[in-house]
């Protein structure tokens, strides 16, 4: 039970079917889906944040409102929308993406993009205009100025990526809907993630296993956090 001492969780941890690759495959699917989704979101979000941060255009405030609204968009609704798109009758039905990791990546991309864009935009807008001006007047092209701006805003962008990753990997509703929480006959995860596995284990009364999986999830998030912060720190002196 959740109220039991932590030491009682040890047998549950040891009992986890590591040999069969069950937990390992769940971790792999979680990292694969969330990692790819966040990479794609970042590649999409940073150029958008640069354009939104530097240029004025009609409808900019509306676009900002959409992005900010997206940060609080319910994940189950995103799951339903993606399910509609990838279902047999949907526009992407012919690609047969339903209950695949690709469908899960699409839904996590939709969930991770608003926080990454919004936080990156705030970080980029905060870069001193004189620093951008210096990058330009010293002979930089638009790309050079954008690169300088990204470097100056890297801590904010790292925070944005972590927020997006956190939202993606801790999310249950949409991946459950579009992924189906499936394991193969050999017990290896097809579309089961740490969160959907925790949900399943808890529902079936295996609380110790659920808590151990939860601990694995927290450790993973901490590790990713440490790696991203380290990369940001190393970039300081390299400029």
């Amino acid at each position: 039970m959740p109220s039991e001492p932590v030491v009682h969780l040890l047998p549950a941890f040891l009992d986890l079917p590591f040999r069969e690759g069950y937990v390992r495959s769940i971790i792999y699917v979680s990292l694969y889906v969330s990692g790819i989704a966040v990479i794609l979101s970042t590649l999409f979000s940073i150029p958008v944040a640069l354009v939104m941060g530097f240029t004025d255009f009609p409808g900019k405030q509306f676009a900002k409102s959409i992005i900010n609204t997206g940060m609080g968009f319910p994940s189950v609704v995103v799951g339903l929308l993606v399910l509609f798109i990838v279902s047999n009758q949907g526009p992407l039905g012919s690609l047969e993406l339903i209950f695949t990791t690709e469908a899960m990546i699409i839904s996590q991309f939709v969930l991770a993009t608003p926080p990454i864009t919004a936080i990156s935009m705030a970080a980029i807008s905060g870069v001193d205009a004189d620093v951008r001006g210096a990058a330009r007047v010293l002979g930089g092209t638009r790309v050079d100025v954008a690169l300088v701006t990204i470097k100056e805003a890297r801590y904010g962008i790292a925070t944005a990526i972590l927020a997006g990753f956190g939202r993606a990997i801790s999310e249950v509703g949409s991946v459950l809907i579009v992924g189906g929480n499936i394991t193969g006959a050999d017990g290896v995860s097809k579309t089961r993630t740490l969160t959907t596995a925790i949900q399943l284990e808890a529902r079936q009364g295996r609380y110790e296993t659920a808590m151990v999986l939860g601990a694995v999830l927290v450790v993973l998030v901490l590790l990713v956090n440490a790696v991203v912060v380290r990369i940001g720190d190393e970039g300081v002196m390299r400029g």
């Binding site: 210096a134 007047v137 010293l138 002979g139 100056e152 002196m237 400029g239």
Partner: protein, 275 residues
């Protein structure tokens, strides 16, 4: 300070096109949000001269420098660099012209990187992407040695010993000296300085003024916007007095200060309210 300010090589460059102005703004007008900042202003800078732009705060000195730096496109008039009309040129050619101009801002505006990385920025962006990639790969394997141009530019402002220091850890005066070195490193034809010593102590001010003299010796045209008339008298060959939206008077420094031909200039120099 172990190094002397203006301790560079003192090498003198060839004037780009004889004694013709290196930067020439003619009948330039700039409007911001419906308000005229500059109207029909003309100013030419020749190689190897220091021109001080003086005028009250908010008169448009910074805007004038931005126009000369090709950062702001004038609403009317012409800005040419070495005889080429910059705003009539294609974007690629304008970038090449812009790269002949260096600028130092009132705030140092250094990048969050080491002193050396800041100073080499202008040199780096002038390389091809392939060269940059190769340099990055090399530096990942082995820390690169300081290039001679970076070392020389830092020597001019007495900062060669702090090349590896983080720019964020510098004092205001040191940061401004690095900012000067950053603009000098790629050997521009003209150097634009926007109130470069307004926040500095006398020692750092002296270093920057010596560096201006070194740039002048090298044949670089220098334009310094300042509200410090004593500084203008110390460093400038010519003075342009910016009052209202136009240059009220431009001429040899000693003559402008001793015998101004414009009544508004006389009042401004004597400390009377001009407008």
């Amino acid at each position: 300070m172990s190094e002397t300010a203006a301790g560079g090589t003192g090498r003198r460059r060839e004037a780009p096109s004889g004694d013709a102005p290196i930067v020439d703004a003619t009948e330039v007008s700039v409007t911001f949000e419906g308000q005229a900042v500059l109207e029909g202003l003309s100013l030419a800078v020749e190689p190897g001269e220091v021109v001080a732009v003086i005028g009250p705060s908010g008169v448009g000195k910074t805007t004038l420098l931005q126009v000369l730096a090709l950062s702001v496109e004038p609403d009317a008039g012409r800005v040419s660099v070495d005889g080429v009309d910059a705003w009539a040129a294609e974007e690629a050619e304008r970038l090449a012209l812009r790269r002949r101009v260096g600028m130092v801002f009132q705030s140092a505006s250094l990048f969050d990187a080491s002193v050396a990385r800041n100073v080499e920025y202008g040199l780096r962006v002038r390389r091809s992407w392939r060269e940059r990639l190769e340099a990055s790969l090399r530096s990942a394997l082995r820390p690169p040695a300081l290039s001679s141009r970076v070392r020389e530019a830092l020597s001019v402002v007495g900062m060669a010993g702090q090349a590896d220091q983080s720019a964020r850890s510098l004092s205001g005066g040191e940061a401004q000296r690095v900012s000067f070195a950053r603009a000098l490193a790629y050997d521009p034809d003209v150097l634009l300085l926007d109130e470069p010593t307004s926040d500095l102590d006398p020692r750092n001010t002296a270093v920057i003024e010596d560096a201006m003299a070194e740039a002048r010796e090298r044949g670089i045209g220098v334009v310094v916007a300042t509200h410090d008339m004593h500084q203008a008298e110390r460093v400038a060959d010519r003075v342009a007095v910016l009052l209202g939206t136009d240059v009220a008077e431009v001429g040899e420094t000693s003559r402008v200060f001793s015998q101004p031909s414009d009544e508004r200039t006389r009042k401004f120099i004597s400390g009377e309210l001009v407008y």
